[in-house]
């Protein structure tokens, strides 16, 4: 248990997961935009449009806004790197990833928080009012969402006795009775709200807004252009995919590969893609019916999910 679980299989699993998330996350965003467009009566641009946007952005000329420094230049790259590490560590298609015992849930959540903090610093580094506003709002939301994630993690780990992600997912996949326990259900709802907050989706933040005073995530990245913007958008898409994948691995782990056979792994990959696509469609459809919350109502929403997290921990202590 003290060695990292690096074998050919787990390395393959990790690499495949990273590639699938890297290449598939813009497709997920495209799918969500497609669902939204169809529900609004439009045709939409097609599922491949985000990839077309990314390729075009990579070919644009680069601008260096004056006065910005390493914080501004590194944040987009860090976002993509963290998304890739998370994709490699979290059991998405199989329970054994190359990080093995090092795939710690608290570490993964800490990395995602690091990427948010880096982007907030980049926003502050621009010295514009929008950058500061986006950073301030993003950090407020992150400060209130991170406690809920830790509580949900805690509730899930307390029953398994470990914060090791493969262990938690394997325990969930082994016994469906665990998934229906009160602690698990409460944690599922709490984590769902947090996923919305962390990925900047409605009702916490509208990713398609162009009214600056309503922006949270967009305001931090108003200054980016060209390849940097491509990385920012890719990082955001990877974050969404990884978090949706994490949620489905923790609470709906059916179909995840627990063995090492090639067929089982392939099935796990297909099931992961299907589950993420379904979750994305449900999210997109839900967004059609929702309006963005006023900024100062968001803490109420997050406090409610925090309370659910505390109840989940209490349930895991008392009811199991």
């Amino acid at each position: 248990m003290n060695e990292l679980d690096i074998t050919a299989r787990t390395m393959t699993v990790s690499v495949v997961q990273v590639l699938v998330v890297l290449l598939g996350s813009p497709l997920l965003v495209g799918l969500m935009r497609f669902v939204r467009a169809r529900m609004e009566g439009r045709v939409g641009a097609g599922v491949l449009q985000p990839w077309r946007d990314t390729v075009k952005l990579l070919r644009k000329h680069r601008l260096d806004p004056e006065g910005t420094g390493p914080a501004f230049r590194t944040a987009p790259v860090l976002g993509v790197a963290v998304g890739a590490v998370a994709a490699g560590a979290i059991p998405l298609m199989a329970t054994g990833t190359a990080f093995g015992t090092g795939a710690d849930m608290i570490a993964v959540i800490g990395l995602l928080a690091l990427a948010s903090a880096a982007l907030a610093l980049a926003g502050l580094d621009t010295a514009t009012a929008f950058g500061g506003m986006g950073a301030s709002r993003e950090m407020t939301i992150a400060a209130l969402a991170e406690p809920t994630i830790l509580m949900a993690v805690f509730a899930l780990s307390a029953r398994v006795g470990s914060t090791n992600l493969p262990a938690i997912v394997a325990a969930g996949a082994a016994g469906a009775s665990r998934l229906a326990s009160p602690a698990s259900l409460l944690a599922a709802v709490a984590l769902a709200v947090v996923v919305l907050a962390e990925c900047g989706r409605l009702p916490v933040d509208n990713p398609a807004t162009h009214l600056e005073l309503t922006m949270v995530h967009e305001a931090m990245v108003l200054e980016y252009s060209g390849p940097d913007l491509a990385l920012v958008e890719l990082g955001a898409a990877m974050r969404l995919t990884v978090l949706l994948g994490l949620w489905s691995s923790l609470f709906v782990p059916f179909g995840i590969a627990t063995g090492t056979g090639l067929g089982v792994l392939l099935l796990g990959l297909l099931v992961f893609a299907a589950k993420t696509a379904v979750l994305g469609c449900v999210l997109a459809a839900g967004e059609v019916f929702m309006a963005k919350l006023r900024l100062f109502r968001v803490p109420e929403l997050l406090a409610g999910s925090f309370l659910l997290g505390v109840l989940a921990v209490a349930a895991s202590f008392f009811l199991d």
Partner: protein
């Protein structure tokens, strides 16, 4: 919520089917904007218009004309944009901001003058508050004549940029 769901199901698709592809863009523009094939982010700059063109642009991106299916999308900042839709005659106050907006966008970029006012000041030619047409302040690549132009014409101009 259920009533909205029923309405969505009942109304179905609103977007009209795509008209035939427009003539391609002039060759030097096409060469410069080869990177923008298939995807063009749009920033609208109101340099002093009466808002008539804005309404038509809004309709162009609405469900009926649905410019998004051709790869165009409205964005919040000129840094994110490839296409600048300039409307209205350029008033004295908006001349400098228009120039700065143009400078803020990264190459390759396309400026589209939407409406008669942007092309040659239209109704407001010679007025005391008007600096000039859009072409006097920033280099204009495409024009969409009309007062206001039809959404279909605006969509056609965008299709010349994206080639879809």
């Amino acid at each position: 919520m259920l009533s909205l769901f029923r309405k969505i199901a009942a109304v179905g698709r609103v977007a009209e089917s795509a008209p035939p592809a427009p003539e391609p863009a002039p060759p030097e523009l096409a060469a410069r904007t080869r990177a923008l094939r298939g995807s063009a982010q749009v920033r609208c700059v109101d340099a002093g218009s009466c808002n008539g063109c804005e309404i038509e642009i809004g309709q162009a991106f609405g469900p009926v004309y649905d410019a998004e299916r051709y790869g165009a999308r409205i964005v919040a900042s000129p840094r994110h944009a490839d296409v600048l839709l300039v409307t209205g005659p350029v008033t004295r106050n908006m001349a400098e901001p228009l120039r700065r907006t143009y400078e803020a966008a990264a190459e390759p970029k396309v400026v589209v003058a939407v409406g008669d006012c942007a092309i040659d000041c239209g109704e407001f030619a010679g007025a005391y508050g008007v600096e000039g047409a859009a072409g006097d302040v920033v280099p204009v690549d495409l024009v969409v004549p009309g007062c206001p132009p039809e959404p279909a014409a605006i969509v056609e101009a965008l299709r010349k940029v994206t080639g879809r």
